[in-house]
């Protein structure tokens, strides 16, 4: 047998680094596969995100619409707004959400964060063995982290899009009901889009934050620790 050239390369040799890879396409494929296999549970996780994003989008866009009405200078617009329950100090040029609304949004986001962190923690811990196995096969810590972050990003994206749509449409509908067509006519489009974007971003961030810490811990484990941890 020929002498095996095991580790002939000296430590620090750049050649070795290039030899362990996980192409992005392959990571994406593995992440999608994992998501598909646990489809039902992922739907539940995504629903939590959808609710958080929808609620946030609803509140933000509702006040955007109200601001639009206010700035339209229609006769009687101030009365319409205060009848609809918006706080309007004298001389205000934009309609903020009320303190109560803000509290409800913050609380709902907190509840969602806890839910998401919990869901992602479970999804990482139940896969310790898989993580350990991958590391035995030569996966770097960063591969493991990347796979989980990709999954979370895809969940976050789905949650953000669905939640944004749901919250945005809901706010528009509520606006039409309260103010009639004026709500649509005086809609500040740029602001509404910005609000949608913000809500979607928050949803995405929640998903990533939830997965980051457990995935980091799992990725850094010695392979045997990870494989044993589940038992």
């Amino acid at each position: 047998m020929a002498k095996t050239d095991i580790l002939d390369k000296k430590p620090g040799d750049a050649g070795i680094r290039k030899q362990i890879v996980l192409p992005f396409r392959k990571s994406l494929q593995i992440s999608l596969q994992s998501l598909r296999v646990r489809f039902f549970r992922n739907c539940v996780t995504v629903m939590t995100l959808v609710l958080a994003v929808a609620f946030l989008a609803f509140v933000l866009i509702s006040s955007d619409l109200a601001t639009g009405i206010l700035n339209s200078n229609m006769p009687g617009c101030r009365m319409m707004l205060s009848k609809a329950g918006f706080d309007l100090p004298e001389g205000a040029t934009s309609v903020g959400s009320s303190a109560k609304d803000r509290w409800i949004v913050i609380l709902s986001l907190l509840v969602c964060t806890v839910g998401i962190v919990n869901a992602q923690l479970m999804s990482v811990t139940e896969r310790f063995r898989e993580i350990g196995t991958m590391k035995c096969l030569g996966a770097l810590d960063s591969f493991v982290l990347r796979l989980f972050l990709l999954e979370a990003a895809m969940q976050g994206l789905a949650g953000a899009i669905l939640g944004g749509l749901l919250g945005g449409l809901g706010a528009l509908l509520a606006g039409l009901l309260r103010f009639g067509l004026a709500a649509a006519m005086h809609m500040p489009l740029a602001q509404v889009l910005a609000s949608l974007g913000l809500a979607a971003l928050v949803g995405m961030a929640l998903s990533l934050i939830g997965v980051f810490y457990p995935a980091l811990v799992a990725a850094r484990m010695q392979p045997v620790e990870a494989m044993r941890a589940e038992e």
Binding site: T4, L7, K9, L137, A139, Q222, V224, E225
Partner: protein, 248 residues
């Protein structure tokens, strides 16, 4: 094997597990040399430290004291990349519980180490199919682990361990979860690999069927090497082993 350089050297390795206030000494000073191409069985009762030693040799866990050299390189000196490279290219692992990735098909399990090793998708698929054929799993490429029997899963694991043509195959109780005849098939598979490809095979086991194919048997008792026997000695002592088997 003609050249027979030392491929694995274990020197003064101890391993202590701390569990709260308790300390468990799983290994109490192991010295060992394994030559390239050897078929080694590490035998001993359960709890004697076989898996712990297996993990040390495979670079899957760190010894408390002592050193492990693979091809005379101290693996404690390797950084994360080099360690990953060692696990990916130079060592193939086989576990008692198969440890296939459940969400992947047989073929994807076998090709994953090749992907990590930088092989192109087409080449990996081609080699993966070839390896599955070698272990007798033609036509099962697209089966998920749950759709395969224990023996078939272990065959996939054997194929996966060969993915990057490693110099060493480490097998921790590869037959532990298999029935007698399936276990014998896996042992035969390992024997053929050792004979035809010159792969160094190190198994931890308490399966006496393994004795017939081993070049050397290392008996571990209570975290220490009790004795090392060559195949020649083994033939003489078969009677004694049979007696021990009867006692166990």
């Amino acid at each position: 094997m003609a050249s027979s350089h030392t491929i694995v050297r274990v020197s003064g390795v101890t391993k202590t597990f701390r569990m709260g206030r308790h300390e468990v000494q799983a290994l109490r000073g192991v010295d060992l040399e394994i030559k390239a191409g050897e078929y080694i069985s590490i035998m001993g009762p359960s709890g004697s430290g076989k898996s712990t030693l297996f993990n040390m040799i495979g670079g899957l866990d760190k010894p408390t004291e002592g050193k492990v050299f693979i091809d005379e390189v101290d693996i404690a000196q390797l950084d994360a990349y080099e360690l990953a490279w060692l696990r990916n290219r130079k060592i193939g692992y086989i576990f008692q519980t198969f440890n296939l990735i459940q969400v992947m098909t047989a073929l994807e399990n076998v090709t994953l180490p090749m992907t990590f090793g930088g092989m192109s998708q087409d080449d990996a698929v081609e080699k993966g199919i070839e390896l599955l054929k070698l272990v007798g799993l033609e036509g099962r490429h697209n089966h998920k682990p749950q759709e395969l029997s224990g023996g078939q899963q272990q065959r996939v694991a054997v194929a996966r361990s060969l993915a990057n043509s490693p110099a060493i195959i480490l097998a921790d109780e590869p037959t532990g979860n298999l029935d007698l005849s399936t276990g014998a098939e896996i042992i035969e598979l390992l024997r053929v690999l050792s004979a035809e490809r010159g792969v160094t095979i190190i198994t931890a086991t308490h399966d006496y069927k393994m004795l017939n194919v081993s070049d050397r048997v290392i008996w571990i008792v209570d975290g220490r090497i009790d004795r090392i026997e060559n195949r020649a000695d083994l033939d003489i002592q078969v009677g004694e082993i049979k007696r021990e088997e009867a006692r166990a």
